[in-house]
């Protein structure tokens, strides 16, 4: 069919079809894409989409008209006997003025809407819940710094929990390369840049509460190239009911039981898990209090908080589903399952001494002195999954 059109020399119709295609794709987007800007479920994302669609239609009309004009001119004014020597028109001042002013007017209208929305989105909503988002290579850390006047901080990774309808104020930062935090269904993206603090407003639709829990999960992804595993640096957001959120928040403040800590200690002694991962209850000295007051010391931030791993649905930059099998494989040989070593070498304490092994999330099957067996990996994975609090 396309071929036939081509032979009639009317290529531009193809584009008109494609333009309609984009609209169709937008329209029938009621699929299951949880990462689409076409299916907003938050105020900011909806505003972004509305202003986009408004001017998309203006642009589409202009685009189609110009393309049709090109095709029309090419056919209508084709050289044929009698018109070889057309009238020589050198220009037309009124026309020039017209097609300077008209676009300028359209752009002015666009500018007015744009500018008001820029300022609208930049403001910090009153009484917002505050969460700090740190981009890591290649996962996300969330610190809940202000929740209903609570001062105790919750530190978690890769899965953001927010209550529906409540304004959220995200503070974005990085202690390494640039990242960009983006959950399309909830809000537009902004970069995490070392030395800078950026902010995003986020308000999930209250309507979402009518949906079952499984329909309140949204996907996102790092949008700024951040090195080897950039594509694996994903993120999930769960929109909670008030009760769900309160329960979840409270659960994240709890420690492992002393039995659990004792059991894990024997693995920790060999594999030094806690030199990069925070485990509430296992950490020495005053660390737990420090973490909850927001002064988390650097080393325990190298890897995600493992205390409540079992409460999450995914791991490794939200790339893998949290199943016993996946987790076992990861612990046994993380490097075989990721594009590169997770984590960055400079933060690994033994990097300078032993460049081969201690790089980010190591392959514990090759751990010096004590090579991990698959059975052992499975035991650790099972143990971690057992520490479910909710």
């Amino acid at each position: 069919m396309l071929q036939a059109k081509m032979r009639r020399g009317r290529p531009m119709k193809l584009k008109a079809l494609l333009v309609l295609g984009v609209v169709a794709a937008a329209g029938c987007g009621a699929s299951t894409n949880t990462q689409s800007t076409f299916e907003p479920h938050g105020k900011i994302a909806r505003d972004d989409k509305n202003i986009f669609m408004g001017f998309f239609w203006v642009a589409a009309v202009i685009g189609v008209l110009i393309c049709l004009a090109v095709v029309f001119a090419a056919i209508r004014f084709r050289e044929r006997p009698g018109n070889e020597n057309p009238k020589q028109i050198h220009g037309h001042t009124q026309l020039e003025i017209a097609w300077t002013i008209l676009p300028a007017l359209i752009l002015t209208v666009m500018g007015v809407f744009t500018v008001s929305m820029i300022w609208d989105q930049a403001a910090k909503p009153a009484g917002a819940m505050e969460i700090t988002v740190t981009g890591k290579q290649w996962w996300w850390q969330f610190q809940y710094t202000k929740v209903d006047g609570q001062t105790k901080q919750v530190v978690t990774a890769n899965e953001l929990h927010i209550p529906a309808g409540k304004p959220i104020w995200l503070t974005l930062k990085s202690d390494n390369v640039n990242h960009s935090f983006w959950i399309p269904a909830l809000a537009g993206k902004k970069d995490n840049i070392d030395g800078h603090l950026n902010n995003i407003q986020m308000i999930a639709d209250i309507d979402l509460l009518k949906q079952p829990e499984s329909k309140r999960w949204f996907d996102g992804q790092c949008a700024q190239y951040c090195g080897l595993s950039h594509a694996d640096m994903r993120v999930k957001a769960k929109v909670d009911t008030d009760d769900e959120f309160k329960t979840w928040y409270a659960s994240q403040l709890t420690s492992w039981t002393s039995d659990a800590v004792a059991k894990f200690k024997k693995w920790d002694d060999i594999y030094t898990c806690s030199s990069c991962h925070y485990i509430q209850g296992l950490a020495k000295d005053n660390t737990d209090a420090k973490v909850q007051s927001g002064e988390a010391p650097v080393p325990i931030n190298r890897g995600p908080n493992l205390t409540h791993l079992a409460d999450r649905t995914s791991f490794a930059g939200a790339k893998y589903a949290l199943t016993l099998d996946n987790l076992t494989q990861w612990i046994y040989d993380a490097q075989a399952h990721s594009a590169g070593e997770f984590g960055k070498p400079m933060e690994c304490p033994n990097y300078q001494k032993d460049k081969v092994l201690c790089v980010g999330m190591p392959a514990f099957k090759d751990w010096p002195g004590h090579k991990m067996t698959m059975a052992e990996a499975k035991e650790i994975a099972q143990f971690l999954l057992d520490q479910k609090s909710t």
Binding site: M110, S180, I193, D194, H196, L197
Partner: protein, 634 residues
């Protein structure tokens, strides 16, 4: 030669080697300082790099054929997308502009050569060696992998810290500094040539629009490259000497890099697209047999774009959190630049409107340019809507946008230029039949590849990702894109077959095959070394056209009986009395010093740096003391 000049030659220092004299045969290409040959070399080399960049694109598309693809590793993928971008911008786009500029500017302004033929030659060799230097990084397993934009601190953090596990960013930074040197030299050369060497009577406003656009890109090159050169030096120093320009822990600011880079990067976009605008401003009037509608307005809007282009760089940085005041200002500037761009599009349409349109291959590409560039321009305007930009930034929507501008725009215009000026450069036509296959395949393949990217981007697919998960509904669109990419490859292949077949067939072209309007059509095809037997005198815009045609009272075209369409063929002289400077070896030697030093800098081998500088100084000295002309001439 007069005796005075002869004695002047003798007064020159003794050269290291006699200046080469051969101006034909394959070896002459290494020493030529003829702007036409250098232009052709720029074009040919850029096309080879186009193939390299194209192969990288095909591999990228194969990897993205399906979710969780395994054809490439993440490490390789990151190298490929970095090199694809770097290649297409620095080794294809800019050199093609220089290729056309080199070949055409002296012909269009009625000059015998550019102002500095040997510096022109230097620019080419720096480009070639710089390109080879960049690609040689693959041999060291150190292909650049920080993106063509090379954001810090990813690229600037020392190797030992392992953000990027290779010397890729060093190759990238050093290579681009090198290519920048070449670009600045050609920029200076164009500016001087255009300002100083116009034929008598060719005032600035009588210059062809293509020459105007070349002038504007030369100015942009001159002012845009220094900031990025500074930024690249800072990246290199940070990586290798522990400076803290972009190290936030020691007070540096990674955003400084982004400002310096985009202060270059946005004018760079116009450096890439303005030659395309110049080309279609030449072809559309010829194939419509009407003057360029509002020629002065087209020139003025080009200048306006050149100026406003300096005030929009932050629209690449909306996501970096510069605050609402800054984004507002740059958002409005970005909207403003759409106005002169729109004016150009309408004027091109006005040129075709009411004309006698000949749908040659060149014209098809030019018409395709208007349509595709318009679409790219419109999606560009949408980026100025800062809030929705937060959803589009760094997604495939942006990839779609700039490919519509730079592929739909620049590449279509470049092909239009190839088909249009091929007879002038080589004396024979390219096959129109194959040309039309070339066009339609490219048109279909291009739209099939890049249109779906708009959609997949808005559906949430970020750029620069070596893989994507299943379940977001991106699979079908990605497959369309991959098929489209191979159709584009097929189209380019048809072009190359056309080039070879047409050369064999040798459909000889007259001096003025298209009934052209500008001076280059007044001289024989292919153009003799001296260009013009006599420097022409110019009386108006489109001077050559007005020698052939006049207008009756109603403004209709009337052919003058004594029209000079075959001017240049009358000439009896073979031009041997015209003295041209001899070819030279030394600019190439000079250029060779740069990559040698470059390897030294990458591998921190200061001896090698010294050797490179020595070669460079040797080339320079020999260059400076060589005489104007080979002694054999006398």
């Amino acid at each position: 030669m007069t005796t005075v000049e002869h004695s002047a030659v003798i007064a020159q220092p003794r050269p290291l080697l006699a200046r080469p004299t051969k101006t034909s045969g394959w070896t002459s290409w290494f020493t030529t300082i003829d702007h036409k040959k250098i232009g052709i070399m720029y074009g040919a080399t850029a096309l080879i790099f186009l193939v390299a960049g194209g192969i990288e694109a095909l591999l990228i598309r194969l990897q993205l054929w399906r979710p969780n693809g395994t054809i490439l590793t993440a490490a390789t993928y990151n190298q490929l997308f970095t090199m694809h971008g770097t290649t297409m911008v620095f080794l294809v786009g800019m050199p093609l502009a220089v290729a056309f500029g080199n070949f055409l500017v002296p012909l269009m302004i009625g000059a015998r050569d550019v102002a500095f033929p040997r510096i022109n030659m230097l620019g080419y060799w720096v480009f070639l060696f710089g390109g080879i230097f960049l690609y040689s990084s693959f041999l060291f397993g150190s292909a650049p992998n920080g993106g063509w934009f090379g954001y810090t601190p990813l690229t600037s953090t020392p190797l030992a810290h392992g953000f990027l596990p290779s010397r890729g960013p060093d190759f990238w930074a050093v290579g681009l500094i090198m290519l920048g040197i070449g670009s600045v030299t050609s920029g200076v050369n164009f500016i001087v040539t255009i300002l100083n060497m116009r034929a008598p009577g060719m005032t600035l406003l009588r210059m062809p629009v293509f020459v105007w656009m070349t002038f504007i890109i030369a100015m942009l090159t001159l002012f845009a490259l220094p900031p990025v050169t500074a930024a690249l030096i800072q990246v290199y120093m940070d990586r290798n000497f522990g400076t803290n320009f972009f190290n936030a822990a020691q007070g540096g600011d990674p955003l400084l890099y982004q400002h310096l880079f985009w202060l270059f990067g946005h004018p760079e976009v116009y450096i890439l697209i303005l030659p395309g605008m110049g080309i279609v401003s030449e072809t559309l009037p010829v194939f419509s047999r009407k003057p360029l509608f509002g020629a002065r307005v087209v020139v003025m809007s080009g200048i306006a774009i050149g100026f406003v282009g300096w005030g929009v760089w932050v629209h690449h940085m909306y996501a970096t959190g510069l605050g609402p005041a800054t984004t507002t200002g740059f958002g409005i500037a970005t909207m403003a630049i759409a106005v002169p761009t729109g004016v150009k599009i309408f004027n091109w349409l006005g040129t075709v409107w009411g004309g006698a349109v000949r749908l040659t291959t060149s014209m098809l590409f030019s018409l395709g340019f208007i349509a595709m560039f318009t679409l790219g321009g419109l999606s560009g305007v949408m980026h100025s809507i800062v809030p929705s930009n937060a959803q589009q930034h760094d997604t495939y929507f942006v990839v779609a946008h700039f490919h519509y501008v730079l592929f739909g725009g620049l590449v279509f215009a470049i092909f239009s230029g190839f088909y249009y000026w091929w007879p002038k450069a080589f004396g024979h036509f390219l096959s129109e039949k194959m040309g039309k296959i070339n066009f339609w395949l490219l048109f279909i393949g291009f739209n099939l590849t890049f249109f779906p990217m708009h959609i997949v981007g808005l559906q949430g697919m970020p750029r620069r990702t070596y893989t994507y998960g299943a379940g977001h509904g991106w699979e079908l669109l990605n497959q369309m894109e991959t098929v489209g990419a191979f159709i584009i490859a097929l189209s380019v292949l048809v072009f190359f077959v056309n080039v070879i077949a047409s050369r064999i067939r040798n459909d000889v072209a007259p001096a003025d095959p298209w009934d052209g309007r500008t001076l280059e059509w007044s001289i024989p095809s292919p153009v003799p070394a001296y260009n013009f037997l006599e420097i022409p005198e110019v009386h108006e815009f489109d001077d050559f056209w007005h020698k052939k045609y006049t207008e009756d009272e109603e403004g209709r075209l009337v052919r003058l009986p004594s029209g000079g369409s075959d001017a240049g063929q009358h000439e009896v002289s073979d031009g041997s009395h015209i003295h041209l400077p001899s070819p030279s070896y030394w600019p190439m030697v000079f250029a060779l010093g740069l990559p040698i030093s470059g390897y030294g800098f990458v591998f921190k081998n200061w001896l090698l740096v010294g050797v490179g500088v020595a070669v460079l100084m040797f080339g320079l000295t020999a260059w400076l003391i060589e005489p104007d002309t080979a002694h054999e001439d006398h």
